[in-house]
Amino acid sequence: MRKTLTTMTTMTALATSLTVAACSPPGSSGSEEEGLTQVNIAFSNPTIFTTGLPYYVAIDQGFYEDAGLQVEATFTGGGAETVQAVVSGSADIGTETSGAAAIGAYVEGAPIKIVSASTTGLDLQWFALPESGLTDRSDLAGRRMGYSATGSSSHIGVLALSELLESEGLPPIQAEAIGGPPDNLTAVQTGQIDAGWTQPPFFLEEVANGELVLVADGAEIGDYADVAMRVNIANISFLEEDPDAARTFLEVQQQSWDWIFDNPEEAVKIWQESADLELTEEVLLTTFDYYEREELRIAPLDGQDVLIADAVDFGFAEEPLTDEQVSELFDLSYVPED
């Protein structure tokens, strides 16, 4: 019997290990089709407009194939997890990741470069339950608020909001890594946190129905309107081995965004189908009320000084980058010329 118990113990330990491993982001895999250059990318929250849509559109419209690329995507928890995927080499390029996380990784010796802007401005909103009594950002002082993952733009947003509240003499926010908007909704509804983050158009219907209230908006926090809060990064080995693939990928990324803004109705259909969204096309179309084409351009990359200052302020880097480090990290030479 003791032998049986020992066997069961071993099996249980194995199951535990597998479970913990299953909680880690999956690695990408894929075979290279003839004539196509394989590029592995990583990004978070694939249902979101700024992360998943350009990828889905590029696949649907055949932009990758036309450009000679075969792109395989790995989905991460966001922020530093996207950077980790690129650092480890499981992804060549990380899209739509926070500049602060990339800067933090770089100063610790990570072999990465920031190769373009991704989203300029802070497009986040924070919601709560109506019965919470939270109505504006000052009510969030001392409250538990969710973000996606350490180093993500939602993390930077919460830290910046907390800093703002502290500057007004209010208690800081208790920030907790919860995950994407659906995880935040669950956490808010079950009382694990007081307010969660989202990006338009998610939960706007619930807000309109009175099921949720919007408590704060990214536009209220600091002056991030002209800062590339999310950037695209790449592994240095990949850039050295295949710089043309990096250039081509960025070109397709810009091409996808141009197509999305030129064809919003078709884009939301692709979005709805590819991301398996339950939101109606009408609701998805309202996303275009929140984003300007210019905010999703891959160049220029504005607000480098703010990104570096935030990385230091929020503990991702111990000291500001030197000029040499800045020019090494921010390498926009892969952005295609107009």
């Binding site: 019997m1 118990l5 069961m8 996380a101 009382g191 694990q192």
Partner: protein
């Protein structure tokens, strides 16, 4: 024996040190062992760090205490009340082999996003081997020993204290050692995944901030704590067998 162990570990660490310094191993992923050991030494006087160690230690001790006490009692009941044992032992065995850790979202809803959820999940996971091993330990006590005790007119308590407990202790403590291992794994893994609590959170933050030395310092301390607990439980086993 101890000297051999220490020398072997020292040789391994020296080889890693050389490999990192000569960049055979990438220092971004593996820091120099000397810097990790220095970090571990300085962390002992770092108030914030000790606070995190205290949180993890507290969670481990509480979860283990709950699992140990509840597990031994329930194992005793399953042994004593045979119909209950026949009915529930297969169920406990089945649960023991299942990834109960996946229930953590439910625990977060019930207990909130705090250490209570982690302690409850760890205790639930660890109580199962304790129940099984206790029940089996008591069932396996040699009947001849009990008959000898009864022929000497020993009271029930004395039979339990002087015959059953020493005979069953090795197997019960095997269950407790496994329970302790599970508690440590679940507490640290959940702190890591949820990024709440102590050392697990520190490991997660160090990894996400790419601070390899801090990461290895935390992991090293978790190993030290684990070894200390196993040593402690071995001492308890010796006491129980006296």
């Amino acid at each position: 024996m101890w000297i051999v162990r220490i020398v072997m570990i020292a040789i391994f660490l020296a080889l890693v040190e050389v490999a990192v310094r000569t960049e055979i191993l990438n220092p971004f992923f593996v820091p120099e062992p000397s810097s990790v050991l220095a970090g571990m030494a300085s962390s002992v006087t770092d108030g914030d760090f000790l606070g995190m160690v205290a949180i993890t230690l507290g969670a481990v001790l509480l979860a283990f205490a709950i699992a140990g006490i509840a597990g031994v009692l329930l194992g005793f009941v399953l042994w004593r009340v045979r119909p209950l044992g026949d009915a529930y032992e297969p169920l406990v065995a089945a649960l023991f082999s299942s990834p109960i850790v996946l229930l953590y979202p439910i625990f977060l809803v019930i207990f909130g996003r705090n250490s209570a959820a982690i302690i409850a999940l760890a205790a639930l996971f660890a109580v199962l081997p304790t129940i099984l091993f206790t029940k089996q330990a008591l069932s396996a006590v040699n009947r001849t020993l009990l008959n000898v005790g009864r022929s000497l007119s020993m009271s029930s308590w004395n039979l339990f204290r002087h015959i059953m407990l020493p005979a069953a202790a090795p197997t019960i403590f095997t269950g407790l050692r496994i329970a302790l291992t599970y508690v440590l794994i679940v507490v640290v893994a959940m702190e890591y995944i949820l990024q709440i609590g102590g050392l697990g959170r520190l490991v997660a933050e160090s990894a996400l901030l790419f601070r390899a030395t801090d990461l290895y310092v935390s992991v090293g301390l978790i190993v030290v704590i684990s070894a200390a607990f196993i040593w402690l439980i071995n001492q308890l086993e010796r006491l129980a067998q006296r």
